[in-house]
């Protein structure tokens, strides 16, 4: 299907963020064209855990994930079964008394955003997750969190966008963003608005974006239904995700709808090297065994890697990129792209049509990095 000679919006990237933005913009009545160099949902979207999670490593992250979770809950009943939306909840696991006591603050912060959670003592924890190792102190259960299957979620969002008139072109690599348009091979496509939602590769098109690929390893088991029932994350995950400069691993285990157990997570900055790093893989798996020793007797059937689009301040870039006419960006979501895709789409659309954004979007303004650049930082 050929695109019209001029659209209202060109979205670069048909990952979950691009798909969500395309949907929201198309629903506003805008004529949207989505371009992807490969196929929809095939990039970072395909590599991650599909965890829909409230994250409070900063107030701005909390606000964005809370907004997004509200959107996911609204959308839930319309999602096709292949998206595998499973409201299994998250348990933030406390290794010791100190961590357990600290979850009270977490609970309070969540409550301010209307998010329910339940503090678990050790007994409460083992009652619902018996495969965790003994000696843990408890945790925080967030029942509203969920797990989805991201590639199909991206497809579902794109299908909705297309029902509202959007056009998807796969196998179409954008070489450059120009004023009010993009160049893709021999073609130039024009639109009043271009959205750079190219994920980990966003900086190839908009070089000033401080986005670097942050590599992660994952492993998935054969089917062991009921091995775990909630997404399980160590409280130390927040530190792992937060520290940009060094490699890190954190305990992060998830039950999938198939009954398989998905094991993460690791973070490294090694450019675009996709290969398996045995040292990091070992650290990640060792960390997982620290919390769930019985994982060691499960069969792993597959391992893989992926690249998160990471920014220096851990927050995404959502909004107008003023140096280029008509350019917006929606990228830099690190490990929260699946969750915050919907919140990002809402904010981006608010900004594009000139509405007051649903939440204060200043913290995500792409121009914040321009200030750093011009200040020589």
């Amino acid at each position: 299907m050929t695109a019209p000679s001029r659209s209202d919006v060109i979205v670069i990237g048909a990952g979950i963020v691009g798909a969500a933005c395309a949907r929201a913009l198309a629903r506003e009545g805008l004529r949207v064209v989505v371009l992807d160099a490969d196929f929809a949902g095939g990039g970072t979207t395909a590599a991650g855990m599909g965890h829909l999670v409230i994250m409070d490593d900063s107030p701005e992250q909390l606000a964005l994930t809370a907004l997004s979770m509200e959107s996911w809950r609204e959308l839930r009943s319309t999602l096709p079964v292949e998206v595998e939306y499973d409201a299994c909840g998250t348990i933030w696991v406390a290794e010791d008394r100190e961590q357990r006591d600290a979850v009270a603050n977490k609970q309070a912060a969540y409550r301010e955003h209307g998010i329910e959670s339940e503090v678990l003592d050790a007994e409460g924890l083992y009652a619902i997750e018996p495969n965790l190792r003994s000696g843990l102190a408890g945790g925080l259960l967030v029942p509203g969190d969920a797990v989805i299957y991201p590639p199909r979620a991206a497809l579902a969002l794109l299908d909705d966008a297309r029902r509202h008139g959007a056009i998807l072109r796969e196998g179409c690599r954008v070489d450059a963003i120009v004023d009010n348009g993009v160049r893709a091979g021999n073609e130039v496509l024009y639109a009043d608005i271009v959205v750079n939602a190219a994920g980990a590769a966003s900086a190839a098109l908009t070089p000033e974006l401080p986005i670097v690929p942050r590599k992660g390893h994952l492993a998935i088991t054969d089917r062991y239904p009921d091995f775990c029932r909630h997404q399980l994350v160590e409280l130390g995950y927040l530190t792992s995700a937060h520290v940009m400069t060094s490699d890190s691993v954190a305990f992060n285990v998830q039950p999938r709808a198939t009954g398989q157990v998905l094991i993460g997570s690791s973070r490294e900055l090694v450019g675009w090297d996709r290969s398996t790093n045995h040292v990091v893989l070992k650290q990640m798996l060792d960390r997982a065994l620290q919390f769930m020793p019985s994982l060691s007797r499960l069969n792993i059937i597959r391992t893989w890697t992926g690249f998160r689009p990471a920014t220096p301040d851990k927050l995404p870039l959502i909004g107008a990129w003023t140096p280029t006419r008509g350019l917006y960006v929606a990228t830099g979501h690190e490990g929260l792209g699946i969750t915050t895709s919907l919140g990002t789409a809402r904010l981006l659309t608010d900004l594009v049509v000139g509405r007051m954004p649903s939440i204060d979007a200043a913290a995500y303004a792409p121009t914040r990095v321009l200030t750093s650049v011009s200040a020589g930082l």
């Binding site: 054969d222 062991y224 198939t258 069969n299």
Partner: protein, 87 residues
């Protein structure tokens, strides 16, 4: 030439005498088993490739899940649980 010795295994609780050197897959097929595992959509599956490739012959052996029956030789007291044992 010596007569082959036999061992006794248990399949879903039933005892079976099997010639030594036989694989668990062969033992089950000889005894007329028509379900080793149930597929994702609920079909009964038995071995296809006979050589450890297809993973259709997976059964629980001595309480360990996902064992390829075509790669395991019978031994005295070996216990097999097929998916037929699950309602």
């Amino acid at each position: 030439m010596n007569a082959p010795t036999s061992v006794t295994i248990r399949v879903d609780g039933r005892s079976l005498r099997v010639a030594e050197g036989t694989t668990v897959a062969a033992a089950l097929l000889n005894d007329g088993w028509l379900e080793f595992r149930r597929s994702v959509s609920g079909e009964s599956r038995t071995p296809l490739c006979g050589m450890g490739i297809c993973h259709e012959c997976r059964v629980i052996i001595n309480d360990v899940e996902h064992q390829r029956a075509c790669l395991v030789t019978v031994s005295e007291g070996l216990r097999v649980t097929t998916s037929a044992a699950t309602p």
